[in-house]
Structure formats: C-alpha cells, structure tokens
Amino acid sequence: MNPKQLHILVVDDDIDNANSLAEIFEMEGHVVTRAHSGTEAIRAYEEKNFDIAFMDIAMPEKNGVESFFEIRKFRPLARVYMMTGYSVEELVQQALQNGALGVLHKPVDLHKVLSLLAA
C-alpha cells in the first residue's frame, strides 16, 4: 500500500488511453476510476470526490473543459489537469483561468505526470 495513496479520476474517450494511464497510476498504488465521457466524469464526481483528475479535452458531446466547469459548480475545489492531443488554446485558456491545475500535451510525459502526483 502506498502511504500517499490517492483517489484519481482518469477521463478519456479513447479507452486504451484511459486504461494505460490508469494502470500506471494503479501500478504506483493509487486508486483509479475511469470515465469515457464528460457525462461519466460528472457522474463520478457526483458519487465521490477525487484527489486529482486527468481530463481529456477533445471528447464527443460534452468536452473536457465544459465538464470541468460543471464539476466545479458542485465541487469548487476539484483539482483537475487537462489533457489534449492538439492545441485548442481558447479552451485551454478558459480552463486555466477558471482553476484547472495545468495542461498536459499528448503524448503525455509520464515522468512529469507522476511528479505531479507527488506534489
């Protein structure tokens, strides 16, 4: 058991992406919940709070930033990192200005991600 075990939410419509990232966190001893759409992510947050979340931006229907804003409405202190495969600067800026912790560009540098967890 990791003494600093965290509850992490990984949100990505690409299931392989979500799983591989989740498995890395699990390997590090954290508890990971997977969500594959914005709606699922919101539902997950409704059920419980997470220590940290990694949210893809480009998702069908509700994108990551919109979902983040909705989550923030009932969990104002939610700590969320945005992930994106290409620069959607406007959305990224909105998210950062409204409390997102940061943006990770795909392919994600995993050393950096793990260091974020340690912080």
Partner: protein, 511 residues
C-alpha cells in the same frame, strides 16, 4: 485612370492668314504710296517743262519787242534834228526808213502773236499794238508834213508839226510800253499760276511723306507685334510639349502602378488560394494530429508500463525502450511541425515581458537538445514588453533551437554526422528598429549559397529526417506578427537567424 495634366491650349486658328492679310494691306499701301510719289514727281516735271516751254514761246517775241522798243525811242528824233541839221533830206530819209522798219516790225510782231496762237491771251497787247499802228500813222503823217513844211520854208508850221510828231511819238512809246507790260504780266501770271500749282503739289508731297512715315511705323509696330506673337507661340508650343511629356510620364507611371497593382492582385489571389488551401490543410492536420496523438499517447503510456514492469527482469531491453520513446517523440515533433505550418487561427496577442518569457522557454527547450549542445541566453531588452502570441513565438524559438542543433550534431546519436566540434547556440534579444529582435547564433557549418533561398520554401530539407517545414513555419508566424526573419550565414563559421517583430502587433492580426 485619372490624368492630372490639363489639356494643351490649341493655337488661335487663322492667325497665319491674318498676318498674310495685314502684310498684303501694308504692301498694297506701300505700292500706292510709291505710285503716288512717282505721279507727284511727274507732275513737278510737267510743271517745270510747261513753264520752260511757255517762257521759250515768249522769248522770240520779247527779243522782237526789245528791238521795236529801241526803234520806238527815236521815231521823232530825226524831225527834231531837222532844225539843227544842214541836210534835212537825209533826216527825212532816216525818218522814213525808221518808220518803215518800225511799221514792218510791229506788223510782224502782231502776225507772230496771232501765229503763235497766243492771240487770245495777248489780246490786250494786240489792242495796244493796234493803237501803236494808229499812232505810228499819226507820227508818220505829222512827221512828213513837218519835213514838207520845213522844205517849203514854213518853219513855224514845221515846228508845230514837229511838236505834234513828238507828242504822238510819246503816245506811241507809251502804248508800246503798255503792250510790253501786258505781255510781261501775262508771263508773270502764268508763272504765278504754275507756282501755285507747285505749292498745291507740295501739299501732296507732305501727305505722301506722312503716309511713308505712317507705313514705316505700321510695319515696324506690326513686325514687333508679330515677333512677340511668334515668341509667345513658340513658348506655348514648348509648354504644350512639356505638358505632353508630363502627361506621358504620368501615363507611364500610372502604367507602372497598374502593373504593380495587377501583380499585387495576382499575388493576393494566389495568397487567398494558398490560404484557402492552408485552412483546409490546417483543419486536416489538426484532425490527423489529434487522431494520431491519442494512439501515440497509448503507445507511450503502455511502453512506460511495460518498461517499468520488465525493468528489473530484462535490463537488455532498456535500449529498445529508449528507441521506442525517441520514435514517439519524433512522431510528436513531426505533428508539431505540421501544425506550426498549417495553423490558420487568429493570433492571441498578449503583452509579454520578452526576456523573462524567453529565459523560461530557452531553459525548457535546452534540456530537450542533445547534451553536447551548449545553449546560452543573453537578454538585452531589460524588461521591455512586447505584444505577441506567446504560443506561436514559442514555436519560433523551438524551431530556432532545433534547426541550429540539428545543423551541428544531427539528432545527437550519430557522431559521424556531427559537423561542429563544440556546438554552441546563443539566444539573444535586442532592441531593433521599431521592434524587438530575438536572434539565434550557432557555430555550425553555415548555409550554402544555393540553399539559402530554398530553405524558406516548404518541404525543402538538407537533413535525412524532418518534413522541411521548420523555416517556412517561422516565416509564417513572423509574417502573422508583421515581423520578419533575417538570416546571416558564413560557411564554416555559423549562422545567425534573427526574428524581428514590431512592439505593437497590428490589431487586425490580433483580432
């Protein structure tokens, strides 16, 4: 097209025919005056000739009259001398002879006057001569009776007859002198008449002189006027030519402007087409990038997972994992290159303190370069802020560093491809004219002349890897900022690339 130059004024029509007309009039006048002069001189000559002829006509008559005058003086004297003379008969003969000569001469004078056709004008003289004849008869009568009385010894009667003879002789002299005077008066009158005629002609002479003066003045004045007119015309013609030349120059200039504008229009059209294509390409690239980065992300995380799990069990796989990791990063950098070049969205301009921002970028990017490449940052803007899109300018700096580094050591894994012993990159900032400059200087091999133009063209590359969009992307980003890229290079010494951007980016671009 607008022609600014005014129309050239047309010269007054018929001016030539007017000049001709005036000269024709002057010449006609000239000829008239000359003719008048000739006429006048012929008149003078005529008068002179007539006067002389007239005088000559009277000359003979005068000579005769002088002769008769002499005879008239002593018609009575033989009668007087008879009383003192011893030979009265001789005196009587003398008396008869002289009377006879006188009578003949007077008669001949009368005939001459009539014959010369001067009878009418000399009628006074003729009348006088007629009286002279009568008196001559009386003198003859009384003289003869005086001589006969004296012969008969009647001295007293002879003396009486002598005094009668003397008296008539005196009267005869008077009459003759009257006739002479009348003829003299006649010639005097004629001469006076001719003199009056000459005086009249003199007046014409004066008139002609005035006309000549007037004509000379007219010709001179008109000549001056024509001269001025010609000079004016000449001036006007020169002006018209100058104006024509100006219009020509204008047209030429406008044509050039037109050509330039047409070229610009063509360029703009091509640019629009290019932009349209780029927008499409940008959309496509963005989609592809997203679609590829997701599986790339999966590969990366999965590889990481495998690496972590196998790490202790199979250390010989470490190199393989590194290769996978590098391949993933290459795919990523290709995506970035494509996105840099094809992106068409508007700039997101921010006010950025250049040195501080750039220091972070350089520090972050320097770590990604091969370890042997030394990177130095030389800030020179001391807190100056500029307005630009940091995300886009970030790509410029990344491309600068990547290009310089790859030119010197390739990807850093194959020493046979190294071109530089101590690869070093200096990133510096400076105040440029009206803007700021970010320069990247390397000590690499430099760029060959023939490649210098091509490196700005898309898809040109001297490397065995890469898409060839690095410099075109820099060009494009700087162009969007209304800035420019300058390249200075020297073979064997290195290359300096300078990005200049204005302090204020145009708001249209920022919108």
């Amino acid at each position: 097209m607008i022609l600014s130059a005014g129309e050239a004024k047309a010269p007054a029509p018929n001016s030539h025919s007017r000049v001709h007309f005036v000269y024709f009039v002057l010449a006609s006048f000239d000829i008239l005056v000359v003719l008048a002069g000739l006429l006048l001189s012929s008149h003078f000559a005529n008068v002179f000739e007539k006067t002389i002829e007239y005088r000559q006509g009277w000359d003979k008559i005068f000579t005769q009259m002088w002769k008769i005058g002499d005879l008239v003086m002593d018609t009575g004297s033989p009668v007087v001398r008879m009383f003192e003379s011893t030979d009265w008969a001789a005196e009587s003969r003398h008396f008869e002879e002289s009377l006879k000569r006188l009578s003949t001469d007077v008669q001949s004078l009368q005939e001459q006057l009539i014959a010369s056709g001067k009878a009418e004008e000399a009628q006074d003289a003729l009348a006088a001569l007629h009286v002279v004849q009568n008196k001559l008869k009386l003198v003859t009568e009384h003289g003869r009776s005086a001589f006969s009385q004296y012969r008969d010894g009647l001295v007293e009667k002879a003396a009486h007859c002598m005094s009668m003879t003397q008296r008539y002789s005196q009267e005869l002299k008077h009459q003759f002198q009257g006739a002479m005077a009348s003829i003299l008066l006649l010639t005097r009158n004629y001469e006076n008449q001719q003199l009056g005629h000459v005086r009249d002609l003199r007046r014409y002479e004066l008139l002609i002189a005035f006309c000549v003066l007037f004509m000379v003045a007219g010709v001179t004045t008109y000549g001056l006027h024509i001269g001025r007119l010609i000079r004016q015309k000449h001036h006007q013609a020169a002006e018209a030519v100058a104006r024509l030349q100006a219009v020509n120059a204008d047209v030429t200039r406008l044509n050039q402007v037109l050509a330039v504008n047409v070229k610009r229009l063509q360029d703009a059209q091509e640019e629009n087409i290019r932009k349209g294509k780029l927008a499409q390409l940008g959309q496509l690239t963005a989609t592809v990038a997203h679609e590829i980065r997701n599986p790339l992300n999966t590969i990366r995380t999965a590889t990481y997972l495998i690496e972590r799990k196998l790490n202790a069990a199979a250390p010989e796989l470490k190199a393989q994992f590194e290769r996978v990791s590098k391949a993933i990063m290459r795919c990523d950098s290709i995506m970035n290159e494509l996105l840099d070049f094809t992106r068409t969205r508007a700039l997101q301009v921010e006010r950025v303190e250049v040195d501080t921002w750039l220091k972070e970028v350089v520090k972050e990017q320097a770590q990604k370069l091969p370890a042997m490449v030394k990177v130095e940052f030389r800030p020179g803007l001391s807190g100056i802020e500029a307005r630009f899109d940091p995300a886009r300018m970030y790509r410029v700096v990344v491309n600068f560093l990547t290009n310089a580094s790859e030119a010197m050591v390739g990807r850093g894994d194959d020493p046979s491809k190294f071109t530089t012993d101590r690869p070093k990159i200096i990133i510096a900032t400076n105040r440029g004219p009206g803007g700021v400059e970010i320069s990247c200087t390397d000590n690499g091999p430099g760029i060959a002349e023939e490649n210098l133009k091509k490196i700005r063209e898309p898809l040109f590359t001297t490397k065995s890897f890469g898409v060839g969009l690095g410099l075109p992307a820099i060009d494009k980003i700087l162009e969007e900022h209304r800035g420019e890229l300058r390249i200075e290079t020297k073979l064997g010494e290195g290359t300096k690339m300078t990005a200049w951007i204005p302090l204020e980016v145009d708001k249209r671009e920022a919108a």
